[in-house]
């Protein structure tokens, strides 16, 4: 009995001694600031900063290899907090950006050219003649962006179109990469006039395919202040740096220009967290 106790205690001592030595010899220098910074970061490991995960960015910031506002998701708030930890004043008035799906052509407004049957995913349907929407620029509505969003900020509405919840959106840009149509753009938050169309088709062709398409009539260009809206290959594009009165929306004969504030959710109730 006694020998057993002694033997066990001895083993325990020996083991802990080994561990203690190992901890000294093989210790990895970690900057305590890196850990503090990691606390501040959102912790979604979304990769929007270009690093594999949040801790990798925290370490780089602590070493001074990355800027304190390098996390696009945390935005100003995180940057300020990190600035405090690092002893750097955060001066950038960096604006918050949110994603916006530049298409309003849901299943009620836009025509489809065929009945798709196959993998339920936008990239897959895009492989067949550029998708089932008649408009080859339109949102395909199968939710590839929603699946890619690390924050659950994108919902596919029952009408078959993707909608970004700008409250939840952090502007990480994952959806932009995922969308085969390239119709998701980052826009500054807080704006309230948007042109929800990406079609470069000529007016007549665009109108045939979708009831809310930009037909390139330029009425909004004339109604808006100089330079606020410009034409890009039959498509009116908003310059988000400019101030645009809401009345411009009324000029659009197609109802393509929508008025809603991006910080509030995009006007519609969204059902449950989909992925």
């Amino acid at each position: 009995m006694l020998t057993a106790v002694i033997a066990l205690a001895g083993l325990g001592l020996l083991g802990s001694l080994g561990l203690a030595i190992a901890a000294r010899v093989f210790a990895v220098e970690t900057d305590p600031r890196a850990e503090e910074i990691e606390e501040v970061l959102p912790g979604a490991n979304c990769g929007a900063c270009g690093k594999p995960g949040c801790f990798d960015l925290a370490r780089e910031i602590a070493r001074g290899n990355a800027d304190i506002d390098a996390c696009p998701v945390g935005g100003e708030k995180a940057a300020k907090a990190i600035g405090k930890i690092m002893g750097i004043d955060f001066s950038g008035g960096g604006e918050r950006y949110v994603a916006l799906v530049l298409c309003a052509g849901d299943n009620k407004e836009a025509l489809k050219k065929y009945q798709y049957n196959g993998i339920y995913d936008c990239v897959s349907v895009d492989m067949f003649f550029g998708g089932d929407k008649a408009c080859s620029y339109g949102c395909l509505g199968l939710g590839t962006c929603a699946g890619a969003c690390p924050f659950g900020a994108i919902d596919i509405l029952p009408e078959g179109i993707a909608k970004v919840d700008s409250d939840k959106c952090t502007g990480c840009g994952k959806c932009i990469e995922a969308c085969p149509k390239g119709i998701i753009k980052l826009v500054p938050a807080g704006r309230n006039v948007h042109i929800l169309c990406s079609s470069h088709d000529k007016g007549a062709a665009a109108k045939k395919k979708c009831r809310v398409a930009c037909i390139g009539c330029q009425k909004c260009v004339k109604a808006a202040p100089e330079g606020a809206i410009h034409m890009d290959d039959f498509l009116a594009v908003i310059n988000y740096d400019a101030e645009i009165p809401e009345s411009v929306a009324g000029e659009c004969p197609m109802g393509t220009i929508k008025v809603f504030k991006t910080e509030d959710s995009a006007g519609q109730e969204t059902a449950g967290g989909g992925s």
Binding site: L111, K112, K113, N117, G118, P158, K209, V212, P253, E269
Partner: protein, 373 residues
């Protein structure tokens, strides 16, 4: 209903665009009748999908139905020999399996689709693996473990690592050994149920008590009458395991219909026969004749209908043979050296666990692949 919802959504949309809505409405009427025109580029008329555009017509549910069909003779025969008690177990098992499946799918928010008949088949298989006269609560507990625990919690059809019906059976066997080994003798309709033991059980018991084979028992069990009883199923045992002939007929039917391949049943039954034969040759005083081993217990039911379950068995032919031999080996070990007289269920479940490993090492070699890549 869905359309109604969409309409509501539309109405509740921001009021600011009311005017444009009207205009949009106009557009709607203007594009309405495209039929007359020859050019109609955007009519949603044709189906577009990936190749191939044709299918041989065999679906998951048609496969399940074929398996159910192949099991029917054995199930009906059990009702004939065990009477109402057997019918009751089968009906309760199938119904509760379907109910559990439905509930689980609802709760887990999976698409509710019990028309693939897999729950029906699981219910039927579990019933065939229970003693006739099992109480209702035993059956329901079994289907709960089979459907909810073994299948749906793991992700539903296609994701379960273990055969659901067998999980149900083994849980019952371990938890309620008394109820699970209370056998009744075959009796005609209406006659009182007489409890008895299965041939395998009697053999194991006599071995335990005497330390060697009881020759009287051997003579009794190996009388021509008894062997015939074993073949046609006029013996004690689980509901569906008794009639070797009908089970084998179902198996041949399934192989002919290419629902299952011969690999697992043949290697499973073959290895049981071979291994018990070797032991019998070495020491006939302690080990029983291999023919008896093959014909008794749940071997045929297990080898033909349970071990061949797609989801839980290997996919390649060589993998299937390894799987079958593994099942046979474990069955023999349990029957000869374990505490249970029967080991088919445990053997299949253990091999289920090895399936991913077998699949990995029997990966087919790509056509034209160079030898040393």
């Amino acid at each position: 209903m869905e359309d109604e919802m969409k309409d509501k959504d539309r109405k509740s949309g921001s009021g600011k665009n009311e005017m444009k809505r009207e205009e949009a409405g106009k557009n709607k009427t203007s594009r309405k009748p495209p039929e007359k025109k020859k050019e109609e580029p955007f009519r949603e008329r044709f189906i577009v999908s990936s190749s191939p555009h044709i299918h041989d017509g065999r679906t998951t549910s048609s496969i399940m139905r074929l398996v159910i069909f192949a099991l029917l003779p054995a199930a009906l025969f059990s009702i004939y020999i065990f009477g109402v008690t057997s019918l009751r177990v089968i009906v309760i098992s199938i119904c509760s399996a379907l109910v559990f499946e439905l509930l689980a799918l609802r709760i887990m928010k999976r698409p509710v689709n019990i028309s693939d008949d897999s729950a029906f088949l699981t219910g039927l298989l579990l019933a065939l693996n229970l003693p006739p006269g099992s109480p209702w609560w035993l059956v329901v507990t079994g289907t709960f473990f089979a459907i909810v625990v073994a299948k749906q919690i793991f992700g539903g059809l296609g994701y379960n690592p273990f055969n659901p019906a067998l999980i149900g059976r083994v849980v019952l066997l371990v938890s309620f050994p008394v109820h699970m080994t209370r056998w009744i003798a075959p009796s005609a309709w209406g006659a009182d149920a007489v409890t008895t033991a299965t041939p395998l059980g009697r053999m194991a018991e006599s071995l335990d008590t005497l330390g060697h084979i009881d020759m009287d028992l051997i003579r009794e069990l190996f009388s021509r009458e008894e062997i015939i009883n074993l073949l046609i199923g006029n013996t004690a045992g689980c509901i569906g395991e008794v009639s070797i002939i009908l089970l084998a007929a179902g198996g041949i039917f399934l192989i002919a219909k290419k629902v299952i391949s011969w690999h697992i049943p043949v290697s499973f039954i073959g290895s049981v026969w071979l291994l018990t034969g070797i032991f019998y040759k070495i020491d006939p005083a302690h080990y029983i004749n291999p023919t008896f081993h093959v014909l008794s217990g749940g071997l045929f039911l297990g080898a033909i209908f349970m071990a061949t379950d797609y989801v839980t068995s290997p996919m390649t032919s060589s993998g299937k043979i390894i799987f079958g031999i593994g099942c046979g080996l474990i069955t023999v070990l349990i029957r000869l050296f374990g505490v249970y007289p029967e080991g088919v269920s445990f053997a299949i479940l253990l091999m289920n666990a090895a399936t991913p490993l077998i699949d990995r090492y029997t990966k087919p070699k790509v056509f034209g692949a160079r030898k040393a890549a």
